[in-house]
Symmetry: C2
Subunit: 211 residues, 2 copies
């Protein structure tokens, strides 16, 4: 008996965490484990590095084009980091969701707040926390020569980022990487089974009932 092919609406999965808590590693593993997930590709005004491919790592665009996209509402969120601009193109995300594809992005709480407005019911948000303050400090102490002042600054930044956990739907305490990836995959599976993401169900049940 073949599985019925139900029409489904995709979702945008957002992972946020303080630096050092592991969101980027979890995101990468998640896509390895479920190849139907794809990373959102941002636009940026930053120059391309030699290792980067246009359209895969970023869409590299000029400042004028970026400003035009902001002005015409073509970005779901955007931010400026060290003088360069970054943004998530609306058209690409909306086309993927309508086609039933799920997209993943790791972004900070400010980007998540903007995305929540633009994507509304199609967003699934996960906040990743470190298992302890000691573990976080160990991960932030990346170089032996870091001064205590530098570490303290990074810890303060993380503390500020962590204060936004109540804005997220799910929370994963990243105690063990593989367990955290399995939890994120379970969230993906569950969200795909939500009635509200299955617009094809009404027709399917009507056929069952008439059958």
């Amino acid at each position: 008996m073949s599985a019925p092919n139900l029409q489904r609406r995709g979702f945008l999965l957002v992972l946020s965490s303080p630096s050092g808590a592991g969101k980027t590693t979890i995101t990468r593993r998640l896509i390895e484990r479920d190849p139907t997930l794809s990373l959102s590709v941002s636009v940026t005004t930053r120059p391309r590095r030699s290792s980067e491919i246009d359209g895969r790592d970023y869409h590299f665009i000029g400042q004028a084009e970026f400003d035009r996209m902001v002005a015409e509402g073509e970005l779901l969120e955007h931010a400026s980091v060290f003088g360069y601009c970054y943004g998530t193109p609306r058209r690409q995300v909306e086309a993927a969701l309508a086609a039933g594809h799920d997209i993943v992005t790791d972004i900070d709480w400010q980007g998540t707040q903007q995305l929540s407005v633009g994507v509304r019911d199609d967003i699934v948000t996960i906040f990743v926390l470190p298992p302890s303050a000691d573990a976080l400090e160990a991960r932030l102490r990346t170089r032996a020569q870091d001064s205590d002042a530098v570490i303290a600054q990074r810890m303060a930044k993380s503390a500020e980022e962590m204060s936004h956990w109540p804005e997220y739907q799910y929370v994963i305490v990243n105690d063990d990487l593989e367990t955290s990836v399995a939890k994120a995959l379970a969230i993906v599976t569950a969200e795909r089974l939500k009635r509200t993401r299955l617009p094809g169900l009404a027709d399917f049940v009507n056929r069952l009932r008439g059958g």
Copy 2:
């Protein structure tokens, strides 16, 4: 690094389906695969069968006691089937949820509607559908000597039950039993990670931020 023991609130997982779609088998397998899940034990006025154990299969009580429980609001839902009364005791469910235990029950849409009022945010509902009308009819045609009229009657009853799918949070099309059990387990895992079920998070993050 040991996993932090976050205070968690349990939930009541409800599986409903038309007869023949597999909710009872999925429920049984679910509890085998995750022994921290336990079945809700109903009260009933039906006489105990020799194979049944009081307190495990049901709490067997008299009609006067049942009527008292209904009158005093001690049942989260109740129904009458073939002249006997059945109900879900409120105190037992509330104690389990407060202690962070998850409970499973397979019940029809009428019971689910009553539970949704009594348990509110602590309920997780899954509707199980058959993969096709043919598959459903095959499962309902349990005895070779069933007349077409009997089958038609069962199909009509199933069609009526299926009309309630929009009242559920998740929908599983039971095409393959093992896949359906895995989907239900993913829902359980995801629901345990929901921020709103983790009242211990605020303290945990405050300790992280102060650390």
